[in-house]
């Protein structure tokens, strides 16, 4: 009996993987729950749309109505390390920022109600919570932005600017 259950679980998991990959248009109707979908493997590494841009998380604080310059969040480092082929803990921070920025920028902000919805979204709140806990003591408000490098890799362009929030 247990063997049958084991075989069934592994078969269903394999079948779900195949179904998820083979019928992208049906994902919403077959896999209704996002919680279920999350556990199904998605084997599309760097494809069909490869990640070809970096995102920077910038923030500025204000005190007595005066805003500071934009600063980049430095919770991960860009330094290259010859041992990264074995040991690379820094990739986690970079991936977190990439995932959050991608999700935030994918949200529609054309309508006013969309703007409010974005401010209540998990990626927005994650960034806001993080910055609120890492501002300087004198900061009264904080604002953040998502930027990406321009094609020449020299400058950055702002992709999204948040509202101004009390710290």
């Amino acid at each position: 009996m247990i063997d049958i259950a084991v075989g069934a679980i592994l078969s269903i998991y394999l079948f779900a993987t195949l179904l998820y990959a083979a019928f992208p248009k049906w994902r919403g109707s077959i896999f209704r729950s996002e919680k279920v979908v999350r556990i199904i493997p998605k084997w599309n590494f760097f494809a069909p749309i490869p990640g070809t841009q970096d995102f920077y998380l910038l923030y500025r604080e204000s005190c007595n109505g005066n805003f500071s310059h934009w600063r980049e969040v430095d919770f991960y480092t860009y330094q290259s390390d010859p041992l990264t082929f074995i040991w690379n803990p820094n990739k986690k921070g970079k991936k977190i920022l990439f995932d959050i920025a991608t999700l935030l920028l994918a949200q529609d902000t054309t309508a006013k109600e969309d703007l409010m919805r974005v401010k209540l979204s998990i990626p927005y709140l994650m960034i806001l919570n993080y910055l609120s806990n890492h501002c300087t003591e004198l900061a009264e408000n904080v604002q953040f932005a998502i930027a990406r490098p321009t094609e020449d890799q020299v400058k950055s362009e702002l992709m999204y600017i948040s509202g101004i929030h009390n710290v």
């Binding site: 999350r38 493997p41 490869p50 074995i86 690379n88 921070g93």
Partner: protein
């Protein structure tokens, strides 16, 4: 390669890979604390209904404990596997539980290797609670092998339908980034875009060809597994994707064993006995 050898190798490789990955995560634990970017105080709002019963395991202190238990578990598992079946099943089940908890707590920052480890430890844990007969043991390994083949083939197909991968600009773009890129390779590919196109097509062909492991044992399988190891090793050096190397080679013993015609013949004889 015998069934037992394939199972043991799978457990050892999976445990080593997950040990390094978990140690890396523990090194960056502050990202998941109350003041970190992955604070549970914010993440809990992704669930609409009350999750008081799960909140215990998602909070920072208990989640950290779970990761430490996972670290201990993968350290011990290679030694208990085969000698203490119930203990091994409990350990691998606990490791699987910690991986699933991590996925549901926050998927940000996770990548495909997390999915590979879930498949590996799901199969190992289910093997542990099964009768461990030849048939069910083969099924558990086959689940790993087939998922591994699917991973390469689906990935290859997704690249084949991508204009950026077909024209070679994908690699130039990826190498230009700080997240996965390599400045030296970027400059070289930019100067020689024809080599970027060649490399892109090389990846596409290799990934799609991986399905040949199912049919052309043993020389073609060994060749493809060797290419796979080299592919992941290059990615580890060039892009810092060390965990892909460790996670995917953990599936290779299963791939080699399950598609061995002699072993498949044994399975066939078991399922369809003569007379």
């Amino acid at each position: 390669m015998t069934l037992d050898t394939a199972l043991h190798l799978t457990v050892i490789l999976a445990s080593v890979g997950l040990f390094v990955t978990t140690l890396e995560e523990l090194q960056k634990l502050r990202l998941e604390g109350a003041k970190g970017i992955l604070s549970w105080e914010v993440l809990q709002h992704q669930y609409y209904r009350s999750i008081a019963w799960t909140g215990g395991v998602f909070t920072f202190s208990r989640y950290t404990l779970l990761k430490l238990l996972r670290l201990l578990g993968v350290l011990v598992l290679p030694f208990t596997f085969g000698t203490f079946p119930i203990g091994s099943a409990l350990i691998s089940g606990m490791v699987l539980f910690s991986l699933v908890v991590q996925y549901y707590r926050c998927a940000f920052g996770l990548d495909g290797t997390h999915q590979v480890y879930i498949i590996l430890f799901l199969s190992i844990a289910l093997y542990g609670i099964s009768s461990q007969s030849f048939l069910i043991s083969y099924v558990c390994l086959a689940a790993i092998a087939l998922q591994s083949v699917l991973a390469y083939v689906i990935s290859g197909y997704c690249k084949l339908v991508s204009q950026q991968w077909r024209d070679g600009s994908a690699l130039i773009g990826i190498m230009s980034t700080k997240i996965y890129g390599n400045a030296r390779l970027y400059r070289w590919f930019k100067r020689h875009p024809q080599y970027s196109r060649l490399a892109c097509w090389g990846v596409i062909v290799f990934e799609l060809a991986f399905i040949a492991c199912c049919f052309f044992q043993p020389k073609v399988t060994l060749l493809l597994l060797g290419l796979g190891f080299s592919f992941h090793l290059v990615n580890a050096f060039a892009m810092g994707l060390n965990n892909f190397l460790m996670a995917f080679i953990a599936t290779y013993p299963a791939v080699y064993y399950c598609f061995d015609p002699a072993e498949a013949a044994k399975l066939y004889a078991l399922l369809f006995p003569a007379g």
